[in-house]
C-alpha cells in the first residue's frame, strides 16, 4: 500500500500547489488574459483533487462545467472586447487596499477557525462509494434535492432571458432607467478604411 499512498501524497501536493499559486496569479497578475487562463488551470486542479477523493463524476462535471463552459466563455468575452487601454487611476487606492486586505484576512481567520473546530473524519472508512456515486447523485437530485435543482434551472432560464433582452435591443424601445428612446443602431461602429490613412 505504501506506493499507492506515496503517489497520492505527491499528487495532492502538486495539485494544491497549483491551486494556490494559480489562484494568487489570477488575483495578482496585471494581464487579464493570463488571469483567465490561470483560472482554467485552477479549475482543472480542483477537478484533480476531486479525483483523488474518488469522486470521478464530480471531477468530470467540474471539468465540463467550469473549464469547458464558464472559463471558455470568460476567455471568449475577454477576446471579443480585447481593448488595449490603461485602467483609470483610482484616488484612494491605498485605503481601498487596506480595507479589502482586512476583509480577506477576517474571512481567512474564520475559515481557519472552521478547519480547526470541525471534525472532518468520516464515521467509517467504507463510506466512500466510488463508481456508484453517479447513481447516488441522480437519486438525490430527483428526491430530496429536487427543489434546489429545479430552482437552479429556473435561475438559469432567467439569466438566459435577461441576456437575450440585453443583446436584442429592439425588445424594448425605451431605456428602463431614463425613459428616453433607445438608440436602435447597430453596436458596431463603421470602421475606417484600412488603406487610406497609411500614406
Amino acid at each position: 500500500m505504501s506506493i499507492a499512498i506515496t503517489t497520492q501524497f505527491i499528487c495532492f501536493t502538486i495539485l494544491s500547489l497549483v491551486v494556490i499559486i494559480g489562484a494568487l496569479g489570477v488575483v495578482l497578475l496585471e494581464s487579464i488574459v493570463y488571469s483567465a487562463f490561470l483560472l482554467g488551470g485552477v479549475f482543472m486542479s480542483v477537478a484533480g483533487l476531486y479525483l483523488l477523493l474518488n469522486a470521478s463524476f464530480v471531477a468530470a462535471a467540474q471539468v465540463l462545467v467550469y473549464v469547458g463552459a464558464v472559463n471558455v466563455l470568460i476567455i471568449f468575452a475577454i477576446m471579443l472586447v480585447n481593448k488595449k487601454e490603461d485602467l483609470k487611476p483610482i484616488n484612494d487606492i491605498k485605503s481601498r487596499r487596506i480595507i479589502s486586505t482586512s476583509i480577506c484576512l477576517t474571512l481567512l481567520s474564520l475559515l481557519i477557525r472552521v478547519d480547526l473546530t470541525n471534525v472532518w473524519s468520516l464515521s467509517s472508512p467504507q463510506n466512500s462509494i466510488g463508481e456508484e456515486s453517479t447513481i447516488r447523485i441522480g437519486e438525490h437530485l430527483f428526491s430530496d434535492y429536487l427543489l434546489p435543482f429545479e430552482v437552479a434551472s429556473v435561475l438559469l432560464l432567467m439569466a438566459m432571458i435577461g441576456a437575450i433582452v440585453l443583446a436584442r435591443r429592439d425588445v424594448m424601445s425605451k431605456d428602463i432607467s431614463t425613459g428616453l428612446p433607445v438608440d436602435q443602431e447597430l453596436i458596431e461602429k463603421s470602421s475606417e478604411p484600412l488603406l487610406t490613412n497609411k500614406n
Binding site: F57, A60, E132
Partner: protein, 372 residues
C-alpha cells in the same frame, strides 16, 4: 459475460512467478497499455493521412503520392519527418508562453480520451465508471487551447480563427452530449464496455444504429464539427482566414495541431462505432458461430481468435467512418458561419432533445427492446 482475455491478470501472474510483489507488477504493467494505445493512435494518424491523400487524389482524378514506397504509403512518414526537422519559429510580437502552451492543450485532452476506447472485453486502458462522460468533459478543454493559440499569435486571422473554433465547439457540444445521453439512457451505464455489451445480443440486428437512427446522424454531424472537418472547417477556412489559429505556427508546433486533429477524427470514428455500430461485435455473434462449429467458447485459442476479431472489427468500422469523413471533405462545400450556428442551435439541438424524450418514452413503453 466475464470471459475473454484478461492480459493484465496474466501479465501480473507471469511477473509474480519471478518473485515480484503484486504492486511492482502493477507498476510495470501500467505504462504498457498506454504506450500501446499511443503507438496505435500515431500509426492510425499515418494511415489516415495516407488515405486522405489517396482519396482526395481519386476524388480529383489525380494519382496522389506515388514514389514514396509502394502506392506512396511512406508519404505520411516523410511529411512527419519534414515537420520534425523544420525550424521552430515563434513570431517576434507573439506571446511566447501561450504560443507554446496552446498546441499542447489541444493535443493532450484528445490523447487522454483514448483511455476509454475499448477494443475488446478487457482490451482498454481503464474501464472507468464515468466512461463516455469523461470524453465529453475532456473534449470541452480543447477550445481553451485554440483560443490560447489564436490570441498568442498576435494576428487578426489567428484570433478570428480561435474565436470561431471556440464558438463552434461550444455550440456542437450540446447536441453531441444529448445524443450520447439517449444511448446512456438505454444502457443504464456510462461505461463504454457496458454500452457495447448491451448491443451484442443479436449481432448486427441489435446495434444501436437501428434504435437510435436520429441520434446516430446528429452525433456524426456534431463529431465532424468538433473535429473541424470540411463541411465545418470554418476555424481554418483558408480562403477567408489564411489558416485560422494555425497561421503563425510552423514545425513541431504545427505538427501537434495536425496530429491532434487527425487523432480526434479517428477517436470520433471509434466512438461512433462503439456507441452505434456495436463496437468490437461481429455482425453475427461469435458465440453463435462457436456453438455452430461445436467449439467451447472458453478455449484459449477461441479466445485469442475472438479478441483479434474484436480488434479487427473495431478498427474496420472506425476506418469505414473515416473514409466517409474524407469523402465528405473532398465533395462538400464549406458552410457559412451563420449557417453553421443555425444548424447547431436551431436544428440539431431541438432534434436531439426530442430524440432524448422519445427514447425515454420508448424505454418505458418497450423495456425489452430499449433497455429496461
Amino acid at each position: 459475460m466475464e470471459y475473454g482475455l484478461d492480459l493484465e491478470y496474466s501479465f501480473n501472474e507471469f511477473l509474480r512467478g519471478f518473485g515480484l510483489s503484486s504492486e511492482i507488477a502493477h507498476i510495470i504493467w501500467l505504462p504498457l497499455p498506454m504506450l500501446l494505445v499511443l503507438v496505435a493512435a500515431v500509426v492510425g494518424v499515418l494511415v489516415t493521412v495516407w488515405l486522405e491523400r489517396k482519396i482526395s487524389a481519386a476524388a480529383q482524378q489525380r494519382i496522389g503520392p506515388e514514389y514514396a514506397g509502394a502506392l506512396g504509403v511512406l508519404q505520411p512518414i516523410a511529411d512527419g519527418l519534414k515537420l520534425l526537422v523544420k525550424e521552430d519559429i515563434i513570431p517576434d510580437k507573439a506571446d511566447g508562453i501561450l504560443f507554446t502552451a496552446g498546441p499542447i492543450l489541444v493535443l493532450v485532452p484528445v490523447i487522454l480520451s483514448w483511455l476509454i476506447v475499448p477494443f475488446g472485453q478487457n482490451l482498454l486502458i481503464s474501464n472507468v465508471g464515468i466512461g463516455i462522460f469523461l470524453w465529453i468533459a475532456l473534449s470541452s478543454i480543447q477550445p481553451i487551447g485554440l483560443l490560447m493559440s489564436g490570441y498568442a499569435s498576435n494576428n487578426k486571422y489567428s484570433l478570428l480563427g480561435g474565436l470561431r473554433a471556440a464558438a463552434q465547439s461550444i455550440s456542437y457540444e450540446i447536441p453531441l452530449a444529448l445524443s450520447v445521453l439517449a444511448i446512456v439512457l438505454m444502457t443504464n451505464s456510462l461505461s463504454t464496455i457496458d454500452i457495447v455489451n448491451q448491443q451484442s445480443g443479436a449481432g448486427i440486428l441489435s446495434w444501436n444504429i437501428w434504435r437510435q437512427p436520429v441520434g446516430f446522424i446528429v452525433f456524426w454531424i456534431c463529431a465532424l464539427a468538433e473535429c473541424e472537418r470540411l463541411p465545418f472547417d470554418l476555424p481554418e477556412a483558408e480562403e477567408e482566414l489564411v489558416a485560422g489559429y494555425q497561421t503563425e505556427y510552423a514545425g513541431m508546433k504545427f505538427a501537434l495541431f495536425y496530429l491532434g486533429s487527425y487523432i480526434n477524427l479517428i477517436l470520433s470514428a471509434l466512438l461512433v462505432s462503439i456507441l452505434y455500430l456495436g463496437g468490437w461485435g461481429f455482425p453475427i455473434p461469435v458465440e453463435l458461430i462457436a456453438k455452430f462449429l461445436n467449439l467451447p467458447i472458453n478455449a484459449p485459442f477461441i479466445q485469442v481468435f475472438t479478441a483479434s476479431i474484436g480488434i479487427v472489427m473495431t478498427v474496420l468500422k472506425a476506418y469505414l467512418l473515416v473514409f466517409i469523413a474524407i469523402l465528405l471533405r473532398w465533395t462538400t462545400p464549406r458552410v457559412r458561419i451563420d449557417q453553421l450556428l443555425d444548424l447547431g442551435w436551431k436544428f440539431l439541438l431541438p432534434i436531439s432533445l426530442a430524440n432524448l424524450l422519445i427514447t425515454a418514452g420508448l424505454k418505458l413503453a418497450f423495456p425489452q427492446f430499449f433497455g429496461g
